[in-house]
């Protein structure tokens, strides 16, 4: 496909040990790029190789792997992304998150394919790369020499930045390091709230799984990069890349989801879509339609609150929103946030939802887990298991509990542990709407059964970003399938899981997949590398990444029993609406899925599968015990 000379060489990285105050040049052979690409794949590779499944998430030995992908910053559509991978304190699984913005592009301009952060600082610090030390408050700066042509790294006191919220931190960093790119934590990360996020200076978050808490446990307030590196990411065949990118943009512009729905309404366009399908979880999944859906919809958001559209770097879709209420302004909310702080809690006051979202953004917290944990508390209270707790529909309580969680006050201290620990502590674990302790997002799988299988088998817990069956089950992408059917959909799901692993590793936005197929991604990568990458090989890489993550989780003690859904979704039929009477019949779907994956009946990859993918199980039989039901505290 590409006649150019290959530019694919070893991956260049840095390894910073905050405990020792050292920085070392790091390198991974080009075979790792061919096998795992970058981004999420690279992070999963490192996590498995370094046996993070044996490491407590908040132990200094846990790692944070910051990694852009081979397409980051190249001009491929939506290619401004990067990933962060670690072992999650919320789930205990391997966990990556990614976000747009320019942080990943800045890493690549500094000549870095990845950054590994190990250890923990003795006192709150910042990491500055490619920058001169900037004395924020006279705090001691520990400089480490540049290594092997890589940029200089400085570990510097966070000083007055510690305890600042996200916007204040970013503003101060921009003063200290004009033109910098930064990824920071807010107070939630500092306090090790188990769903604290990492936010970059374009307001985009590595949101889920508490990777911000891992950063907080390392007393690392910010990673700051020189934002104006002179070197653009290399491209082997720029003319070819331009042609393929043009063809890809044509598809994105021709597709009404990427050219109209998302640009016009943002992701919140889904509120009404899911409500009409009877798949909008309401009041902690007790209902599947929300009486205030229209009042909290993307259309309502646009009418009352949106001040302007925004887009990540390199993105022509532009799904992000700047909004304002009478008293505040900020980023979002996205669909999942409107749902979690709205329908999940029975709240139909959009202004309150928008402002609660701002609170989460300022503190650096994942809004899905925040809202779902409040919804869990509401049901616990209504069931008498949490006396004096909040009640469904109480908008003021949602706002105040977000603030209390950020500050660690009162019930907020408990909420900061997520819904699984909250529900277990109050004797009703079944009321946590989570998988592997990660709260489910805004899709009721009783109205889209393969989404239930997607949640159950997700390597990072209840998540729609590993594979979202919204496409084939609701939107008809690539084609409409029977959303209530039980069997015959596992293959489709597996392909989507593999493809999303590829997108997270390239790193591109998944929204492109509403219009593009794997052949476009393969051609983009072929042009950048100057090596032919076949579409089928790309999906094979996705399969390898998925299985590597599975091996990690098996080694961490997860079993088939963890590939499940909250009991409500398996046993309580939907009361009314288009999905009335439905539950998820998970067991046969799981059996079919394991067979299609080439795994045994317990969900362990068979030897032939591992051999075919060039993988080896990290442990044969020594699996450390893992608490079946998470108790309080940060360990899993």
């Amino acid at each position: 496909m590409s006649p150019a000379t290959s530019i694919l060489g070893p991956l260049r990285g840095l390894r910073v040990d905050l405990s020792k105050g050292t920085v070392d040049a790091d390198e991974l052979p080009r075979e790792v790029a061919l096998a795992y690409l970058g981004g999420r794949g690279l992070g999963s590779y490192v996590a498995l190789r370094e046996r993070l499944f044996e490491v407590e998430p908040f132990a200094p030995e846990n790692l944070l792997v910051f990694a852009p992908g081979p397409l980051t910053g190249t001009g491929a559509p939506t290619s401004g992304r990067y990933s962060v991978t670690s072992r999650s304190p919320l789930t205990g699984t391997v966990f990556d998150g990614n976000s747009g913005g320019s942080f990943g592009v800045a890493l690549r301009k500094l000549g870095l394919d990845y950054l590994i952060v190990a250890g923990a600082c003795a006192t709150p610090s910042c990491l500055a790369i490619g920058l001169e030390p900037a004395g924020a408050d006279g705090g001691a700066a520990v400089a480490t020499p540049p290594a092997d042509g890589r940029p200089a790294v400085v570990v510097q006191s966070a000083g007055e930045l510690w305890a600042r919220d996200v916007p204040d931190t970013l503003a101060r960093l921009r003063d200290l390091y004009p033109g910098c790119e930064a990824a920071v934590i807010g107070q939630a990360g500092e306090r090790e709230v188990l769903f604290a996020s990492i936010v970059n200076n374009h307001g985009r978050s590595v949101g889920r799984g508490g990777l911000g808490a891992v950063m907080g446990s390392k007393r690392l307030k910010a990673v700051v990069l020189a934002g104006r590196g002179k070197d653009r990411p290399p491209v082997a065949d720029a003319e070819r890349l331009s042609f393929v990118a043009y063809e890809a943009e044509k598809l994105l512009k021709a597709n009404p989801i990427t050219s109209q729905a998302l640009p016009e309404f943002g992701t919140a366009v889904l509120v009404n879509v899911l409500d009409q399908a009877g798949a909008l979880p309401t009041r902690n999944f007790r209902d599947s339609r929300f009486e205030h859906a229209a009042a909290t919809s993307g259309e309502a958001l646009r009418r009352g609150y949106v001040t302007r559209r925004a887009a990540c770097r390199g993105c022509g879709i532009g799904c992000a929103r700047r909004t304002a209420t009478a008293t505040a302004s900020g980023e979002g909310p996205e669909y999942e946030t409107i749902w979690s702080l709205g329908a999940a809690c029975g709240v139909g006051d959009l202004a309150a939802i928008v402002e609660a979202n701002y609170v989460c953004n300022r503190a650096g917290m994942d809004t899905i887990t925040m809202g779902s944990t409040i919804a869990c508390a509401m049901e616990l209270a209504e069931e008498g298991a949490l006396p004096g707790g909040p009640r469904f529909g109480d908008a003021a309580a949602v706002l105040s509990l977000c603030e209390a969680t950020a500050r660690g006050e009162g019930l907020g201290e408990e909420l900061g542990q997520g819904s699984a620990r909250l529900a277990a502590r109050h004797g009703r674990p079944e009321l946590s709407m989570s998988v592997k302790s990660l709260e489910l997002p805004a899709y009721d799988p009783r109205g889209m059964t393969a989404q239930g299988l997607a949640f159950a088998t997700s390597n990072r817990g209840g998540c729609h970003l590993r594979a979202n069956m919204l496409g084939p089950e609701i939107l008809g992408v690539p084609k409409m399938i029977d959303r209530f059917a039980t069997l015959g959909k596992s293959g489709l799901l597996i392909n989507l899981q593999n493809l999303n692993a590829v997108l997270d590793s390239l790193s591109l936005c998944k929204f492109t997949a509403f219009a593009m197929k794997e052949d476009y991604y393969a051609r983009l990568l072929s042009a950048v590398w100057g090596e032919t990458v076949e579409p089928q090989e790309l999906l094979r890489i996705g399969e390898r990444i998925w299985n590597a993550e599975r091996l990690f989780n098996l080694a961490a003690g997860f079993t088939r029993d963890d590939d499940t859904l909250p009991p409500r979704l398996l046993r309580e039929p939907v009361k009314a609406g288009p999905a009335a009477g439905r539950v998820v019949d998970l067991a046969p779907m799981l059996d079919e899925y394991y067979i299609a994956r080439g795994w045994d009946e317990e969900g362990r990859p068979r030897a032939a599968k591992l051999e075919g993918l060039g993988l080896a199980a990290p442990v044969a039989d020594a699996r450390p015990a893992r608490a079946a039901t998470p108790a309080g505290g940060g360990s899993v």
Partner: protein, 202 residues
């Protein structure tokens, strides 16, 4: 086999015949379900498929149902083993076959074909039906392209769903009709697409 899957076979088979993409007993289709393949019965009429016309057979291991399966089972198996396809549609569309007899690749000039296909490679085999030669040849190209034309015989299209593979097949035949008509007109094609000179390298 679930009723939903049978319905997909029936609807697609009916449409393939009505659209003139297969003769009365021509063509075949399959879907992959884990380590099993559901494939149309040898000699079945795609326009009139019933449950007995869908044969359940192993992907890796052969079994007695091979006596009932489509002649092309060997090719379908090879494709599934080499690609992430979950569905295959093989047809005998006349315009596409005609184009394959005079070209080594089919490059659409119409808008729909350009968007969805860009380019269709044409491959050649001496034994064109159910042969090991085709089973070796086709999967290699289907790693790069979702639709590949077997010269003089017909296209193999892959997808995650039968409907996807059917769509590609339908678009190919429409594209080839347009090409054939256009070439008959004899004039110079007035190019309207930026970058179309690079479609041959797709």
């Amino acid at each position: 086999m679930s009723s939903a899957v049978l319905e997909q076979f029936q609807r697609t088979g009916h449409d393939l015949f009505i659209a003139g993409l297969v003769s009365s007993h021509g063509g075949n289709m399959s879907v992959r379900q884990g380590d099993r393949i559901l494939i149309t019965r040898r000699g079945s009429m795609l326009a009139h498929l019933e449950e007995r016309d869908i044969v359940d057979i192993g992907l890796e291991e052969n079994d007695a149902n091979v006596a009932l399966a489509s002649t092309e089972i060997v090719v379908h198996r090879a494709i599934y083993k080499a690609t992430s396809a979950l569905a295959i549609v093989h047809t005998h569309p006349p315009y596409a076959i005609a184009q394959s007899l005079v070209k080594d690749e089919i490059v659409p000039v119409d808008s729909e074909g350009s968007y969805l296909l860009h380019k269709v490679p044409v491959v050649e085999a001496q034994l064109t039906a159910g042969s090991a030669e085709v089973a070796e040849l086709l999967p290699r190209r289907l790693k790069e392209y979702d639709l590949v034309m077997l010269r003089g015989h017909g296209p193999f299209a892959i997808g995650h769903l039968l409907e996807e593979a059917y769509q590609l097949t339908s678009v190919l035949e429409m594209t080839c009709r347009i090409l054939t008509i256009g070439e008959g007109l004899g004039g110079q094609v007035k190019e309207y697409r930026k970058g179309s000179d690079q479609y041959g390298s797709w």
